[in-house]
């Protein structure tokens, strides 16, 4: 077990929002190879979970790490890497680590626009939320495909197609529009996914979950774009947003499937990291293998299966959302303007080209609870984003709202990475003790937010007071120039598991 610190390590101020731990902080083996940097305003740094400093400095000790180990301003304690952890490793000398990706592989966010104003939505809000609650399975044991009329149960072979082809498969089957794919990270399909690298157990867990929301902090929300909350009118317009618009956002990942893949490979890596590769880490949860090894490549190919399953999952949920709007408003989703703005991953590892000391290098970038934030110059983005940069969707608590930002060229300092949400500060157990789910639901309705949840205790756990101030988090990365604010989105309707 790693020691729990009682004080913050010495921090060197790099800028108003960047703070550095020197490699001298851990000089016994395995020692820090590079400094660790934490992003945050002074207010966030002063209240930052002390384990973040411990964990991110442990990451800085890992083999082949390049430049800095970094933590985003929404950082808090996680498995191995802190949530908000970002680290890049040399493709040949470095490692790959499941703790740097997360159990919920490709947990991510989607934002969908509409041509409707909030005034168009409000009279039918309860009906809309109720319809979404019926059409999008959520909560414990939620299953899709098998249960829905007109949809076939997925066979093993179909599921293998899903995990190898992601959102591309779902669109080919008629669950989505072709133009959706340009608006998904990696165009909705990470190439190189290999279904032969995943266990039958993982398949059994995932086969019924394509098109399900999950529970915990996962949700589907109807949101309001208030005029005073649009910070960059030009970019907002280019991305299809306007004052008083109703938009939809959801947050979910690869469900039990991604978790099983993480569990399977963590177990395998534990057996070979030391004995076969002679790697030592300061925390057993940082278990890793060389990226170029057979085990590393197998895990990367399996991880891509989970990434693709999550893209397909979110694509199915988009399909069901469009169908729900059609049912409630009696008009085609195309006529209602329900276009995808963007889909981002915030638990993932990518092989990306970045400049290291002026030279182009391929790096294994780990983002755990951190979102890609690429500037308009990056070739990975579809041409539609040449003028704006990549949309970055930042999920806040269900009471305080979320943000849309865009990536910048300056983001190269964090390997094109930024925050993913507001970050938890209070445990689930403590939040449940503070408020009953039923009371929270009533309080929120009085504030104008209508929530339907499968679990009342689950709802209480997600109360706004359990999270950091999202404004402070988003402001940090805006000041750093890594991601620029476009608008703030306020919830009016919410579906939870």
């Amino acid at each position: 077990m790693i020691k729990i610190p009682t004080a913050r390590p010495p921090l060197k101020r790099i800028s108003d929002v960047v703070w550095e731990i020197s490699p001298d902080y851990k000089s016994d083996k395995p020692k820090m190879q590079v400094p660790a940097r934490i992003y945050g305003t002074k207010k966030l740094i002063d209240s930052m979970d002390l384990m973040v400093y411990e964990q991110i400095s442990n990451v800085a000790c890992m083999p082949g790490i390049v430049k800095h180990a970094m933590c985003m301003p929404d950082g808090h304690w996680g498995y191995g890497f802190p949530i908000g952890g970002v680290a890049a490793f040399d493709k040949d000398e470095g490692i790959i680590s499941p703790g740097g990706i997360g159990y919920d592989i490709n947990c991510g966010m989607r934002l969908i626009r509409t041509d409707m104003t909030i005034k168009d939505i409000l009279p039918k809000l309860k009906e809309l939320v109720g319809t979404l609650f019926k059409r999008v399975p959520a909560g414990v044991g939620g299953t899709a495909f098998a249960e829905k009329e007109g949809l076939l149960k997925l066979t093993q072979q179909q599921f293998k197609n899903v995990v190898e082809n992601g959102a591309e498969w779902t669109v080919e089957q008629g669950y989505g529009w072709k133009q959706d794919l340009d608006r998904i990270e990696d165009y909705g399909k990470m190439k190189g996914a290999d279904a032969s690298k995943i266990s039958q157990k993982a398949i059994s867990r995932g086969i019924h979950q394509v098109g399900t929301l999950g529970s915990g902090n996962h949700y589907l929300e109807i949101q309001h774009v208030k005029e005073e909350n649009i910070y960059d009118k030009k970019i907002a317009k280019k991305l299809g947003l306007f004052a008083d618009q109703a938009v939809i956002m959801f947050h979910c990942g690869s469900r039990g499937f991604g978790h099983q893949i993480a569990t399977d490979y963590i177990s395998q890596f534990m057996g070979v990291m030391g004995p076969k590769y002679g790697i030592e880490v300061r925390d057993p949860e940082l278990v890793c293998v060389p990226f170029s090894s057979k085990e590393g490549q197998d895990y990367f190919a399996a991880m891509k299966c989970a990434v693709n399953m999550a893209f397909a999952n979110r694509q199915m949920i988009l399909h069901e959302t469009r169908k729900s709007f059609e049912q409630v408003f009696g008009t085609d989703a195309e006529k209602l303007g329900l276009d995808l703005i963007y889909d981002v991953a915030h638990n993932i590892a990518k092989l990306e080209e970045h400049k290291v000391d002026g030279k182009k290098k391929e790096l294994v970038v780990h983002r755990k609870g951190a979102t890609r934030s690429f500037g308009p110059e990056r070739k990975e983005l579809a041409p539609i984003f040449r003028e704006t940069g990549q949309p970055v969707i930042v999920g806040g608590s269900m009471e305080t709202g979320s943000f849309l930002c865009v990536g910048t060229e300056q983001a190269e300092e964090t390997w094109g990475s930024t925050m993913h949400g507001s970050g938890r500060t209070m445990s689930r157990a403590a939040a449940k003790k503070k408020i009953w789910g039923e009371k929270l639901q009533k309080d929120m309705e009085q504030k104008g937010i209508y929530v339907k949840s499968v679990s009342m205790s689950g709802l209480a756990e997600e109360a706004g007071f359990a999270y950091k101030d999202i404004n402070e988090v988003v402001e940090t990365m805006d000041i750093a120039g890594v991601s620029k604010k476009v608008c703030r989105l306020l919830p009016v309707g919410n579906v939870k598991g």
Binding site: G141, R205, G216, H259, Q260, I266, G458
Partner: protein
Amino acid sequence: MPAKKTTSKGAAKLASKFKFLEKAVTADVAFEAYGKSLNEVFENCALATTETMVDTATVNQRMQKVIKLQNKDVNALMIDFLNEIIYYKDAEQIFLSKYEVDVKQKKENQVWILTAKIAGEPLDYKRHLLRADVKAATWHKFELKQKGKQWTATVVLDI
């Protein structure tokens, strides 16, 4: 029929078997389970895991399952066992709520063998009081220790 929740008498009974830890983790769920034997602490860890997902007072025992696992390390065996319960929730949509566990170490090769007889039933949205969707039992802060006759285990579940 409305679900019959855990009563205060039932809650007191559960409190002697395990408790949820408020300060141990932020985004997930941590519990501490107890037992007068290794078998009992395994049973109570399994019960705590199911209680995280559903109020077990609302789950009937209409079906039986036997789980057999083995591992060189008793700690890894516990993690594997809890992950097996989570697996059945996803793969077969069943909740397992009553546990009878037998854990033995083989003398000849030191391998630990677990045999568990478990009772439960398929998920029923109308009767089961659902809680959090548990995705994995993790090694985070994991502990399995014996002090005198008392066994204690600490487990963090990923939500």
